[in-house]
């Protein structure tokens, strides 16, 4: 682990412990006001925190009687509105972060990183002569110019249009392939986090809800709050039992779901669980009911909304009036299965895709 954090603060409230892996892009994902930016500012040394322990490998930045000033931390920061110095050209902005180098080297290095950030040729433009995407690239060039070990990105894509954002995602990933530094990306955009991050930290009310490799966190939220943060609509309540032969069943209304993949240590009783809309499978209509289908559930279609090449389908599982289930399917699957409003469908909830959720109070 590379960057280790333990932060406690009162205003804004923080009680955050996490380790960010070295050389990876970690996204700090949380709603507005969840303390993400405060965490980033604390790492940069811009927010004095009541109790802080920040170490980059063996180097103490905060804690144990040490408090390194911002300029002594090996960081680069791209803030939400880029904070480019308006009186300086793009080149001047980048050179400002290279004052430790002799003037001649400074110029060469600044031109090099501007080219790396795809803004070569714009070096003499002032910030007001640059587009949003160009400003973002200049800010990124300025942030990486000192070859920082930690790159902090505070919602850096929020002020650019969608097509520019997609391009910038690509450029950031490419740049990261080259630089391989530890990146912390603060965002409230789930898609952005999913596309860019290798590692994901979910934050709410200044606390870490869940952390881990991005694919794990996105597919297996650990708590109801994490599921909500990940925008997973299918969160339900069931009752877990242990049957003969140690088989475990999840009773969900009239449905009995086999949950062999569940952690055997989970106690019997009330269980909150989730299933991702993309993991709910639609069975062929001509397939024999309940033959070899894993956890087949009969349901009626409430609504079909097509969004681009994808359709969001809301269904009501049989015997569960208050638990609408959402599926995401490719539009062609909708056509093939003739899924329409009021149609009866058979769904499959695979045991491996049933995600148990703990209560929010538990870590």
């Amino acid at each position: 682990m590379s960057l280790s954090l333990d932060l406690r603060h009162d205003g804004p409230p923080l009680d955050f412990r996490a380790d960010l892996p070295r050389g990876r892009i970690t996204a700090l994902l949380g709603p507005s006001g969840s303390g993400k930016t405060s965490i980033l500012r604390a790492i940069a040394g811009l927010l004095p925190v009541r109790e802080a322990r920040i170490t980059l490998e063996s180097e103490h930045w905060d804690g144990a009687g040490v408090r390194l000033p911002t300029r002594a931390r090996s960081i680069g920061l791209v803030s939400q509105h880029y904070a480019l110095f308006p009186h300086l050209s793009a080149l001047g902005n980048v050179e400002m972060s290279l004052t430790h180098l002799p003037a001649a080297e400074r110029r060469a290095r600044a031109l090099e990183v501007l080219a790396l950030a795809h803004v070569g040729g714009l070096e003499h433009r002032r910030p007001h002569e640059l587009s949003g995407g160009q400003k973002q690239r200049v800010a990124l060039a300025r942030a990486i110019a000192r070859a920082p070990r930690v790159l902090l990105l505070d919602e850096p894509f929020s002020a650019v249009d969608r097509s520019t954002r997609k391009r910038l995602y690509l450029e950031l990933r490419r740049l990261h392939e080259q630089l391989r530094n530890t990146v912390l990306l603060v965002t409230h955009d789930l898609d952005e986090a999913a596309q860019l991050a290798d590692h994901l930290c979910l934050v709410r009310h200044g606390r870490l809800l869940q952390a881990g490799p991005a694919a794990d966190v996105l597919n297996r939220p650990r708590s109801v709050s994490a599921a909500r943060l990940l925008d997973i609509p299918n969160v339900f309540e069931g009752r877990l039992t242990r049957e003969a032969g140690d088989e475990r069943l999840l009773h969900w209304g009239p449905h009995r779901l086999r949950v062999a993949a569940l952690d055997p240590a989970l106690p019997d009783g009330l269980l909150r669980w989730a299933v991702l809309p993309s993991n709910v499978l639609l069975a062929h209509a001509d397939r024999a009911w309940n033959s070899d289908l894993e956890n087949a559930v009969h349901a009626r279609v409430l609504e079909v909304v097509e969004l681009g090449g994808e359709a969001v389908v809301r269904v009501q599982p049989a015997g569960l009036a208050d638990a609408p289930l959402q599926l995401r399917l490719p539009t062609r699957a909708i056509r093939r299965h003739a899924v329409s409003r009021d149609a009866d469908v058979t769904l499959c909830l695979r045991s491996a895709d049933i995600v148990p959720l703990c209560d929010d109070a538990a870590p």
Binding site: R41, R71, G76, L77, S79, P86, M96, T99, R142, R146
Partner: protein, 224 residues
């Protein structure tokens, strides 16, 4: 025209500016970022010369400079003559009286710098002095220009306090404003009129030029 008085006023304005501007930069920068709860009191104290009658300010300054006070005695011991009724005393009074004219525009200019620019400067590895010199001062310079022009013009025209602490000694403390008063009292209207017109023109030109520069700069800044 009283060339000696005009030269003295120009010298007084120049020296006041030299002393006051660095002080105003430090004080204005500090006031722009400080979170001390005494800030309103400090700002109030610094603004006092704006609201107090010049005679009141002049009276207290005269008391402070007299040989009854520690400051007056120290100055006399160091320099060999009293601070009151001397050019040094005039500079001292002028600096104090001009504090609000210099500090307030500088403070507003520093306040208008977005906090994320200051933070960006730190993240670029700049020391506080480097950040002040390379980032904040270039951004705050319309405020500094306003402060300099206001201080200079105000010192040229200052009358009450100068009369109280400096008296009316030609070549030493008789500024152009006092000379105009003197000439008017002695019915030398031609000379008084010429100097008044000169003061009017200088003040108008410096103010207009500075407003124009600041406006142009702010327009450029806004489009940034």
């Amino acid at each position: 025209m009283d060339a000696t008085a005009i030269a003295l006023s120009a010298r007084l304005a120049g020296v006041t500016l030299l002393v006051l501007l660095p002080l105003a930069v430090l004080l204005g920068r500090w006031l722009a970022v400080t979170r001390t709860r005494f800030k309103p009191w400090i700002e109030g104290l610094l603004a006092l010369p704006l609201v107090l009658p010049p005679t009141v300010v002049g009276y207290y300054l005269l008391v402070a400079m007299g040989n009854q006070s520690a400051l007056g005695r120290l100055f006399e011991a160091l320099v060999g003559h009293a601070l009151a009724f001397s050019f040094g005393g005039l500079v001292f009074a002028s600096v104090l009286v001009n504090i609000p004219f210099a500090v307030q525009p500088v403070q507003r200019a520093f306040e208008s710098i977005a906090p994320d620019l200051r933070e960006a400067a730190q993240c670029c590895g700049l020391t506080r002095w480097q950040a002040l010199w390379r980032i904040e001062l270039p951004l705050a310079w319309p405020g500094l220009l306003s402060a300099a022009v206001l201080t200079f013009a105000h010192t040229l025209g200052e009358f009450g306090v100068v009369l109280m602490v400096g008296g009316n000694i030609p070549g030493e403390t008789q500024t152009v404003a006092i000379s105009i008063y003197d000439r008017t009292q002695s019915f030398d209207h031609a000379s008084a009129g010429a100097m008044a017109a000169l003061l009017l023109v200088i003040s108008l030109v410096t103010m207009a030029v500075s407003y124009g520069l600041v406006e142009r700069l702010m327009r450029r800044r806004r489009s940034a």
